[in-house]
Structures are given as structure tokens and as C-alpha cells.
Amino acid sequence: MAKSSSVARLEQKIKRLHTLIDVNSLISSSLNLDQILENVMTISKQVMNADASSLMLIDEKTSELVYQVALGSVGEKLKQEFRLKMGQGIAGTVAQEGQPLLIADVYTHPKFFRGHDEATGYRTRSMIAVPLKVRDRITGIAQVINRLDGEVFDEDDLELFIALCSMAAIAIENAKMHRSLMERQRLVKDMEFARTVQESFLPQHAPKVVNYTFSSHYTPAQEVGGDFYDFIPLDAARTGIVIGDVSGKGVPAALYMAKLGSDLRTLAFTEKNPAAAMGRLNDLLVERSRRGMFATLLYLELDSGTDRISMANAGHLPPLIRRAGGTVEKVSGTGGAPLGILKGMQFGQDTTALAPGDIVVLYTDGIVEAMNAREELYGFDRLEDVVRTGPAEPDALRAAIIAGVNRFTGLSQQHDDMTLVCFGTLQER
């Protein structure tokens, strides 16, 4: 008699092992979290021969247990109405303590929360509640309620459900990781799109100005950055030339830059000179200042009729002028502080004459702060050297500067945008 009973137990164990193997392949057959949760609970209900089953995951923001799946006659009501705090009720206790519970009659358990039964009219009797664990971290709980054959759950049921839940916990974690990977990939795609939108704000063509040639270069850093440049045709003889750098990186900097660029395009026409445009632009930016964001900006007006540039500099790096004779001037000028910090700031304006063969070089700090593998900065001296000794034509000089920076940095990844604008008068007219 004893022998046949132990054979029966062995047979049951083998059957349960088979079930678990089937369960594992079913649970792992999907990476869709909702599908897995639903599978886990449907299988639990069948395998455990239970009247109802439910699964709650811990909401990491609130540390509450939230129903994800509740199967059985009152499942939907449970799902909509209940959240449990850690330590609250049997589920909350299991989630807090991390130990499974096997209860013959829950009404005798001091932690049983009768709210569910009272709200749904259901009578919970026997129950198993098991924590879902991934490497000692508790991510939720699963429970089965009332055996369909009217018996109470026993130790064998508990053992089976623990095995089932350990598989379920891993499958749920994998699905969560898959979901967050997908979200990250979507974010990367969004950022790539944001970058193409940002680049579309930059001039698509060099301006056409009699006796002048223009050349520009823009390399975005890995993230969406805050550099920008623009050419504004003001009238037949005058062209506005802008280069700037918004503090910070990412989408906020790009949006700030986009608005600033369009404001300046308007002010370039309505204000009488670069210094006045800069003053108005500064006030606009201070009014909508958020988190201290500011921009350095250099705005020049080139008058091709008189061969003069007038410029206002708001905290931006000084332009270099390579004179036809081979000397390089750093035009520090009067200027002012960056835009968007203090209202009512006044900006100085400097005017310089250009002779045939002169080239003006505008740049952002991504050029002078380009870094090599030894963490050395490219620096002003190297830039000035290339400007002094490089080709005497804007496009070729622009190419030489970028080539010089690239040679210096090698394969080191740069963390800032690099923007360069070169323009100059033709040698022979």
C-alpha cells in the first residue's frame, strides 16, 4: 500500500515536471509583456486547478502593488479598483517579506484584506501567494485562489507554483527589458530625426554676394547640439552673417536655437544695426529665460558695396581676419555679455574694412576645444596657425581648418558641435 502510494506521488511529480517544461516553453514564447502576463496567469489557473488567479507587479514609482492580470469571475473588477501598499494584505506581505504563503482558509489569516471580497461578493478560501523574484529582487507577486475540486491547496501545490512563478518572473523581466530596449531605440530614432530637423534650419546654400565667396562647415556632436549659423540677405548690398552657440545640449538647446534664429531673422530687418538687433534679441530671450539658458552670438552685417563689416558680439569667440598680406587679426572688439542673462544690456558695435583677398573666419568652441586622445585641446594657437598659413581662398581655408582639427583629434569622439564659417573678398575683381 505504502509502495503504491509513493509510486503515485512519483508519477504525479513526473507529470508536474512535464507540465513545468510545457509551461516554460509557453511562457518564454513571447517577448510581449502583456501577452506573457496573460499566459502566466491562464497557465497558473489551469495547472493549479484554481478558480481564480492574479498577478501584481510593483510600481517602482509608488512602491505599490498593481494588478496586471486577474482571472476569474471578479477579475476585471479587481484589476480596475485595487492597488496595494507594501505590507498591506496577504499580497502586500508576501511582496514585502519575499516568502511564499500557503493558506488553507484566508479568513483565519490576520493579514487577509477582506475589501476585495466585500467589494466583489466573492468568497476567498484557500490560497497560495508567491513572490516574483529576479536575482533576489522582488518584482511582484502571483497568487492562485480556491481549488476547483473544493480541496485546499497543499505543499505539493505550493512547490509547483513556486517553480512556475520563478520561470514567470524571469520571462516577465526579459519582456520588460525588451520593452525598455525598444523604447530606447525609439528615443534614438527620435533624436536622429530631431537632428535632421535641426540641420534643416541651417542654410542649405551659401549666399550669392557680388565679389564675395562663402564657405561653411557644421559637424554635430553625438547629441542634438546648440550651434547654429545663418546668412540673412538684407538687401542688394548687405548680408547678415550669424554664428552662435546655445548653452547646454539636447532638444532644449536645439529648440532655443530655433526660436532665437527666427527672432534674429526678423530683428535683422527691423533694427537699424547689429548692436540694436542684439539688444532687442537679448531682451526677448531674458523674458522667456528658463533654467538660465543663454547663447553666445556673433552677428555681422557685410556691406559688399563699401566692403565693410559691422559686428556685434554677445560673448562669442572673436572672429579672425586673415589679411591678404598674411597677418591674422583677432577682432575682440567691444561686444557684450552672452544673450538671455540680463535685461537691458547694451552691445557695442565694431566696423572693419575688408580689402581684396581678406578672409573672415567665424567659429564655435567645438573647434578650439576639440580634444585628442591625450585630452589636449586644439586651442587658439593651432587655429590661428592654420588660418595664417592655410590657402588664401575661403572654401579651401575652411577645408584646411577642418582637416587640421580632424588630424589633431584622430578618432576621439567629440562632445560639442563644430561650426565654421569662412567668407572673403575675391583677390581679383
Binding site: D245, S247, G248, K249, S289, R291, G292, M293, F294, T296, G315, H316, L317, G335, G336, A337, P338, G340, I341, L342, M345
Partner: protein
Amino acid sequence: MKIEIVSEKTDAGYLLKLKGDVDMSSSPEVRSALGEAFRQGKGARALFVDLSQVRYMDSSGIATLVEAMQTCMKQGARLRLIDLSPAVRDVFEMARLSSVFDIFASVSDAAKGL
């Protein structure tokens, strides 16, 4: 640690001493320390930030100081920067920031005339 922040209460207002790099990754920490100083020192005449031990400051660090200055102005207080390290001084000179911030050699100098 990228940045160390020490906060002290002085007669004229809170003093924050920054040590390390103030960049994209550490600026949020500086920002929240400044926010805390604003809460604790509500009604104070000034907020002092000692920059003598700052090795590096990028534009996000400057933006943090700009925001602190704008908050001070709204509250009728003054932001006073103390003893700029050579690295910070270079950044301030290059971007002509010395004209917008009040900069002092020491806390006692900065506390005068408040």
C-alpha cells in the same frame, strides 16, 4: 567624485563652496544645492558661491549660475561669486561674463555694502 559642494550659513546669507568640475553631469547637483540654499536662506540679502576650487566649468555650469542670479534678482537678493579659479576666470573673460556677475576676492569683501 566630480563635484563636492559645501554649504555654510554666514551672517549675510548662504555660502556654497564648489570643488571639482561643473559640467553637464554635475550641474544638476549644483542646481539642487543652490535651490536648497534659496529655500533655507529665504529673505537673506545675498547668496555667495565660492569658485576658487573649480577646475572646469562648461556652459551648463554657467547656465546654472545664470539661473541662480535670475532667481536672486526676483527675490531681491544678490548673487555674489567669490574668488574665481583661473579656469573659471578664463571662461568668464572669453564670454565677457564678468560684466553680468558680481565677483569678489573674498566672502568678507562680498559681504560689504549689502
